[in-house]
Each structure stands twice: as structure tokens, then as C-alpha cells.
């Protein structure tokens, strides 16, 4: 195994598991430290720069950061849980002071370039936020009257209050972005004819999948497609639901449907899924929230027919199945042979998936689509086969989530910026990287390196009886400042890196002896697989890198398994020669603007 190239920005970035897992690479440990310090406004702005919607995401994010969190690998086996990253983000948004003065101002001068964004969801708004301050004339078009897209139409208000949406969508629109609500784009040809320098398609995955089963047409009045129903609820068109409701589907939309139904008069609300409970697509915490509200989830039941009488839905029948795995581990659902099960109900919400639909894009514009009806894109640049048209969010690569939409928005904004400056969009700007020693004195580090042993704190819930009375009362109350501090202290500061300098090392073993996690080994070199087996503690997690340094006096190598390092800095504290140092790794993802272009504006010298 060769020595690790720590000069490669990806190496230390990967060590910061949360940031690496986040599609928009939010510097999580950095803002968690700011929250611990009570600097909520600063924490908010760190987030805002990276993910545009901290208050919204702090309530609704799919949080890929949390399963990645190192904390969940180092705690005692009986209760391994990640830091509550998502809910800490909400704390920053809830507790911040007025930060409006610190946001970018609308560009004083336009650069003459015009960009149209189709759809006012998170992807388009991110493009708008990145481009408008640069002087672009950005126009966001949406069929709805108010901006926000699925954030506003699909996420129930008891999870995400309207004010939070208004505030954060407002921050974007206030940058000089023009929003044209109630303007459904029905022809891309017509739009392109308006002479835009670039068009960004961020229209989401607007079509909910239906279930064509016997009785679907006859009982249509009481069967609704989940996302459409949620939108109707959100805009106040639907205010009641039958007493007995069946929700079909196992994703997050199904969870939103059942919890909404419970608040609109549904007394007997149940979720019925084809798969097993464990394989459901919904995030574990969303399932937990639904069950907390007394909603049962029945699994391994495949819908067979809608039962109806005189045009009125009376129930549904299901076939009982079991999961059988073949030699390749592929699952199939095989009927168990038990008699079909029938459930009486008054209304059914179908939440079995979403589809992309582009009926408004003419197929002869030069935009190629693949056989699944998705636009052909370069996944990095998000550019379509018509160079000035870009896609992002669910419209680009199929349904994902808000944070992916934001990441797409940033990428598309870079592409648009380069495209509008006549530069090759395939060339992507490298991130800015900084690595700074955190040593302040002999035992002083500029971060709190003591490892808190606290278990993950639960976000308090509003009393379930109160919460279920209204569709608009927010269920989660958010951490208070004290709990937020304690939860923030659970963060291991993985961005404070252990940086090793072989030429300073005297091989005294002090770091090996003090390391609480047995991460460090001095041994003779070898292939990675061989090394992993003969370290001080086996390095079985292949997803985590080994940090190897050579050039030691004895000819051995230093190998550090990054997997469960606590970043406590004790190796550096016990090092007599400063061969170990704790250095903060800061990754500054380059967004659209002069920094992403090849031809930079000359830097003004400081006088």
C-alpha cells in the first residue's frame, strides 16, 4: 500500500463522513460547533450558503448525513446512534437572530444574461440564489401562485409550518429574482423562443403513480393519488377525509398521507404495504412518527381489488405474500396461499410512487430522452442534449429529495454560469480547501476535544392529542438551547483531522498507547488487505480509509484506521515532537461565480 496523499481534497473530506454523505457537502461539524457556542446566526449562514433551506431541511431533510455519522460507529453496542444533525440544523434556524442584513444583496448591475427556471421548487430556487447575486436576470415560473414547489404542496404543515417556507423562499426571491406565479409552462418551445440564455428545468416529479385494480374506476370518487391529495390538503381544497382510511405504499409520501388523514377526521387510518416493514422506503423516523400517532403499518399485503357498492368505496382486498430470496439475493413476493384479506374503508390514498412527466417538452427541440422518458443528461453538468437547457432535482434523475435538488441546483448554476461565459461546462471547478492547526497551547485546542458520552437526545413532541387536532400544528417542538448544546457536544469534530508528519516522529509509541480506539499502528508495510488484518484493531470497515505514512527512521510505516477515530486529539497531545497535529479541514465547495470560471476577473490587490 502506498503512502496516503493527504493533499488530495477528497481524502480528508471523506473522513468527515457527514459532509461527504451530504449531496451539497454542508460543513456539518463546523455549524454544530457554532450551535454549541450559541452562534445560531453564524450556524445558519454556514448552512444557508451550502443548502439554501436550513429551516426547511432541519425539519424535512432525508438526512443522508446521519446514517454516515461516525458517532453511530463508536458508541457502545447497546445504543449506537448518530448525532441528531438534522434537528440541530433546525435549532440554528429557529434560534438565530435576524440575519437578513448578512445575506447577499441583489446585484447592483445586471450582467445581461437571462435565465428562466421552470418550477419554483428547491432546485430552481437554488439556481436562482446562486445566479441572481451575480447579475443574472433570473425568472422563476410556476403553475402555483406561490413559490416553493413540492416543499409547499406536498409536505404537510404539521411537519413544516408555512412561515418557515415563506421565510426561506423569501430570502431567495429577495435577491432580485423574479417569480411568475400561476404561469404554468405548457410549451418549452414557446419558452425557448423568448430568447433565454439558459433554461433550467426544475419541475419535479409531478405525477403520482396510480393503481389500476378492479373497482378503481367505479369507486374513483373515494380513491386519491397521494401527492395530489396532499397538495389539495396543503392548499385547503380538502379539509375532511372519511373515518376509515387505507394508505397504500411504504414511502415518505405514504407517511405524510396517513398522518394528514389522521388529522382530517380519519379515525381508523392504516398503512398497508406490499413489502416487509423493514424494506419500506420511508425513513425509519417517519415510520416511527406515524406509529407514534397510533397508525398501524400492515406489511406483506399486495392490493388486489377495490370493493364498492353503488359507486361507493367499501373496502379493499389484499393477497398475503412472503418474501423469498433467490440465490442472487433478489427478492420476490410469493403468495402464501392464505385466503385474501379484506379491510373495510371509506377512502384510499394511493402513495405507491412518483413519476416524471414532461408533456410540455416538445420532442423535436433537440432534447433527447431515454427509454424511461427521462432527459439524457451528463449527471455532473446536468446539461441536456440541447446545450442551453439544464435539468435538476427530481426532474433530472428521478425522484430523490430536497437536499439532492439543492445539490443539483448548485451544479446546474455552475454549468449555466460557465455556459453563459462561453466556457466548457464539462470542466468542473475544484473546491477550495484549507487545513489549519488547531493548537492553541500545550493543552489547548481551538475545539472542544473532550468526548461527551451522552446518548442521542430525543426531540420533544407536542402532546399527541393536541397535535392530532389540527393539520397545521407542528408536531416536533425542536430542541431547546440547553438540549441543543448537549446534543451538539456529541459531535466528534471529524473535520479536525489527525495529520501525521513522519519526519518528526521518534516512534515512541505514545500515540499508540493513548489512542482510546486503537486506531494507530506502527508496523512493516504491506498490501492494504494484509495491513487491515494485522493492525492493532482489525480494520474491517472497507468503506473507511487507512491513512498510511512512510519515511520513518526504522523503515516501518504508520497506519491509522480512520473508521472509529474520535478526533479527541490525544495522539497529538501525547506526541512529544508534534508529529501528530490536529488540523481543521475546511472544504469550500465552489459555487457559480468568478471562482468557477477559467477566466477569472483580476484579483484586486489589498493596498
Amino acid at each position: 500500500m502506498k503512502a496516503t496523499d493527504i493533499g488530495n481534497p477528497d481524502y480528508f473530506h471523506k473522513v468527515v463522513d457527514c459532509q461527504w454523505a451530504c449531496p451539497s457537502h454542508t460543513p456539518v461539524p463546523e455549524y454544530i460547533r457554532l450551535i454549541a457556542a450559541g452562534r445560531y446566526g453564524d450556524a445558519y449562514l454556514v448552512n444557508w450558503k451550502s443548502n439554501v433551506f436550513p429551516g426547511i431541511l432541519g425539519r424535512t431533510c432525508d438526512r443522508p448525513c446521519e446514517p454516515a455519522c461516525r458517532r453511530s460507529r463508536v458508541e457502545d453496542a447497546d445504543a449506537r446512534e448518530p448525532v441528531a444533525i438534522c434537528r440541530l440544523k433546525r435549532v440554528a434556524a429557529d434560534q438565530k437572530e435576524d440575519i437578513r442584513a448578512r445575506l447577499p444583496q441583489p446585484a447592483a448591475q445586471r450582467n445581461g444574461k437571462r435565465v428562466a427556471c421552470v418550477g419554483a421548487g428547491p432546485a430552481s430556487l437554488t439556481v436562482a440564489r446562486d445566479l441572481a447575486p451575480l447579475g443574472y436576470e433570473v425568472v422563476v415560473l410556476d403553475g402555483e401562485q406561490r413559490a416553493g414547489g413540492m416543499i409547499r404542496s406536498q409536505i404537510p404543515k404539521f411537519r413544516l409550518p408555512e412561515e418557515v417556507i415563506d421565510e426561506e423562499v423569501g430570502y431567495v426571491l429577495d435577491l432580485g429574482v423574479e417569480f411568475r406565479g400561476g404561469q404554468y409552462v405548457s410549451s418549452l418551445r414557446a419558452l425557448l423562443a423568448e430568447g433565454w440564455d439558459a433554461v433550467f428545468v426544475g419541475c419535479g416529479a409531478p405525477r403520482g403513480r396510480d393503481l389500476e385494480l378492479p373497482g378503481r374506476r367505479e369507486a374513483a370518487a373515494h380513491i386519491h393519488v397521494g401527492i395530489d391529495w396532499l397538495a389539495s390538503v396543503s392548499f385547503g381544497h380538502v379539509t375532511r377525509v372519511g373515518k376509515r382510511v387505507i394508505v397504500l405504499g411504504g414511502g415518505n409520501t405514504a407517511m405524510d398521507c396517513c398522518r394528514s388523514a389522521k388529522r382530517l377526521g380519519g379515525e381508523d387510518v392504516k398503512v398497508i404495504v406490499r413489502s416487509g416493514f423493514e424494506e419500506m422506503k420511508a425513513s425509519p423516523w417517519e415510520k416511527e412518527d406515524a406509529m407514534h400517532e397510533g397508525i398501524p403499518i400492515l406489511n406483506f399485503l399486495v392490493p388486489k381489488a377495490f370493493l364498492h357498492e353503488g359507486g361507493k368505496l367499501t373496502g379493499m382486498t389484499f393477497e398475503k405474500v412472503q418474501a423469498v430470496y433467490d440465490a442472487n439475493g433478489r427478492r420476490s413476493l410469493i403468495p402464501t396461499g392464505e385466503p385474501d384479506q379484506a379491510f373495510a374503508c371509506d377512502e384510499v390514498l394511493v402513495a405507491v410512487g412518483q413519476e416524471n412527466a414532461f408533456p410540455w417538452i416538445e420532442r423535436d427541440l433537440g432534447i433527447e430522452f431515454d427509454r424511461w422518458g427521462m432527459p439524457k443528461l451528463d449527471p455532473k453538468t446536468l446539461q441536456s442534449t440541447l446545450p442551453r437547457v439544464f435539468f435538476g432535482g427530481d426532474a433530472a434523475l428521478g425522484p430523490k429529495n430536497i437536499i439532492w435538488a439543492v445539490a443539483h441546483g448548485h451544479d446546474a448554476a455552475i454549468s449555466i454560469d460557465r455556459h453563459c461565459h462561453g466556457e466548457d461546462v464539462a470542466v468542473r471547478p475544484p473546491p477550495g480547501v484549507n487545513l489549519v492547526s488547531q493548537k492553541m497551547g500545550i493543552h489547548e485546542w481551538s475545539y472542544d476535544n473532550e468526548i461527551a458520552l451522552d446518548r442521542r437526545y430525543r426531540v420533544p413532541w407536542r402532546d399527541v392529542n393536541v397535535a392530532l387536532k389540527s393539520i397545521k400544528v407542528e408536531v416536533e417542538l425542536g430542541f431547546d438551547a440547553k438540549t441543543a448544546f448537549r446534543e451538539a457536544q456529541r459531535c466528534l469534530n471529524c473535520d479536525v483531522q489527525t495529520v501525521f508528519s513522519a519526519k518528526l516522529c521518534i516512534e515512541c509509541d505514545a500515540c499508540v498507547d493513548i489512542c482510546p480506539m486503537d486506531c494507530i499502528t506502527f508496523t512493516h508495510g504491506g498490501e492494504e488487505q494484509d495491513l487491515r488484518s494485522r493492525l492493532r484493531a482489525p480494520a474491517a470497515n472497507l468503506a473507511q480509509a487507512l491513512y498510511l505514512a512512510d519515511g520513518l527512521k526504522t523503515g516501518r510505516v504508520m497506519v491509522k484506521d480512520e473508521d472509529v477515530c474520535l478526533h479527541c486529539g490525544l495522539c497529538a497531545e501525547r506526541c512529544p515532537t508534534g508529529a501528530w497535529d490536529m488540523q481543521k479541514f475546511a472544504l469550500d465547495v465552489t459555487h457559480a461565480g468568478p471562482g468557477c470560471r477559467d477566466r477569472r476577473a483580476p484579483v484586486r490587490k489589498v493596498a
Binding site: 505514545a510 498507547d513 482510546p516 480506539m517 482489525p538 527512521k553 497531545e573 501525547r574 512529544p576
Partner: protein
Amino acid sequence: MTYLAKPRLHHPTLPKNRRGYTRRDYEGAISTLCAGCGHDSISAALIQACFELDVEPHRVAKLSGIGCSSKTPTYFLGNSHGFNSVHGRMPSVLTGANLANRDLLYLGVSGDGDSASIGLGQFAHCMRRGVNMVYIVENNGVYGLTKGQFSATADRGSKSKRGVVNTDAAIDMAQLALQLGASFVARSFSGDKEQLVPLIKAAIEHRGAAFIDVVSPCVAFNNHAGSTKSYDYVREHNEAVNRLDVMVPRAAISAQYPPGSVRAITLHDGSTMLLHKLAADYDPGDRIRAMNYLAERQAQGQVVTGLLYAEAEPEDLHASLNTVSGPLNALGERELCPGAAALEKFNASLR
């Protein structure tokens, strides 16, 4: 020195020994010695050895004198008995404790100042009496606590950090132990745990006076060019005469060695000590030749390490004194106060 306690969290696969303890359970308080001190490595080696031997922490007594080395018992085996004695007086306190309770495992931790100067006489008599103990000298050649004056083990001609040359002859503690009749003598280096841990295990298994001289660089005052106790110097001049593997009875001996290169020595409890010869002409069963070998190599400027001498059937102080077979605290009133008739009989035997 660090102010931060070692976090309680540990590696998810950290193994447990037969007593149900992890290696971390054998640790003590956080060390306040200088960062990089060889003594901390020795503490880590002791922790490792006790873990591997399934030692019960409450059956161990750690005794020490004064000095950097004598501080270290605080930093390992936090759940064992400890006694920080007067300067150089660890051996006599330990001898007394051992006589009172022969069932404990006695770890005597001392330094070159504590054992080679003020406590030299104590060291000598403890060795020649054959007190059943592990006597570890953490040997750095300087008085670290008083800012780095030469100690009695500093080699003649070696240089202090300030450039002063040592003019006094050095005391070789291992030679002295051999001469004084210790039944187990070894030398090792704090920077080589692969060698040190098995030596400590063998010394713990040994039922007699077991002495280990561990060269332990003082990073603050004796780790410079010109020192003969620095990491670099010892690594360069180290001549290991053998390597040990100590196998506890339950472990199967799986490793294969070429015939003739390994000698297996069975210890009192059924453990096996596998001795890999590195120097062809070295025999750790011969005290006189061991002494000669050490003297020769030392004259050539080498630091001989490894198991230098081990007696297969040692006899300890309790055997010589014919003491009772159990600890005194386990004796009942009847044994302690056998009555007037017994006293009469005993007195009569002296007339």
C-alpha cells in the same frame, strides 16, 4: 502531560479476556508524565501483559518508590492495590507485603535513580533473598524530576542535554541482578513492545525474583545525540539475543518454527515459554556465561536485550523461610494463638 481523561469509548471489536475484562479495564488514571515518555510505553506493556494473562486486578499489588518511574503505577491497573513508598524503599515494603500475603502478584516499579542510587542496597537484598516479584526498573539514565542530572546508570562518556560528559562508571542493573542471584533477569526497551510484553508475562509467571531492566528514553532530558539512552541510540545498538512467546495453557501453539531455533520451556502453571534464539551462542540457562556475554557486548557498545537468564525451578523467600503456605490474613485464631501448651512446647525446644 494532558488534562483530558482518555475517553471511555473503545474500539467496537475490543476483545475480552477469560475474566471478562477488556484491555481498557486494566488501565489507570491518565498519565501526567511528559508526552512521549518511555515509561508510558512500559505502563502500556504491563497493561497488555496483565490483560493477556487474565490477571485479576484485585490480586495485584503495585509498589514503587520515588521518581518519574515510581509515579507510573497510578497509570495502570487502576483497580489493583498500590503503595507509593519512600525513595528507594520499595523492595523492603514489598518484601514485607509479600511475607504477609504471598498470594498476590507483586509488581515493583522503580527507576534508575530509585534503585541504582538511594535504593541500591534494598535492590540488592531483595534480589538475593529471592522475593517472588516482578521488579521493573524504568531506566532512562537521568533524574527527570530534578531536570536531568545523570543517574548512576548513565554510561561513562555519554553527554547530558547541556553537553556535560559523564565521568562516572555506569551501574549495569541487569549484571548486578545476575550477580546477586535473581532467578529471572531480562533487559528490554520501552520502544519495543513486541519484545517487552512477553518478557513481562514470563516474569509474572516466574515464581521468584524476576528482574527486568527496561531502557526507557527520557524525551525531555535524555533523548539527544550523545545520549546512550535515546530512542535512536538504543535502536541502533540493540542486540536482541532471543525473542519470547509466552503461551498460556489454553492457547494452542500453532506457529511453526524451524527445528533447533526454538526452545520450549514449561512454566509452573503449565504455561509454555517459547524461546527463539537470535544469537546462536547465547544460553539463558547459564548464569556465568550470561554475565560474561553481557560484559563482552557492553564493552563493544552494544545493548543486549532479551531474556538473559531464567532458572527453571526457582526457590523463593517463602520456601527458604519455610513459612505457612497461605496468606497471614487467612489464618484463623487457632493457628495464630495455638494456646499455652504449644507455647510451652516451643519454649522447651529452645532451652
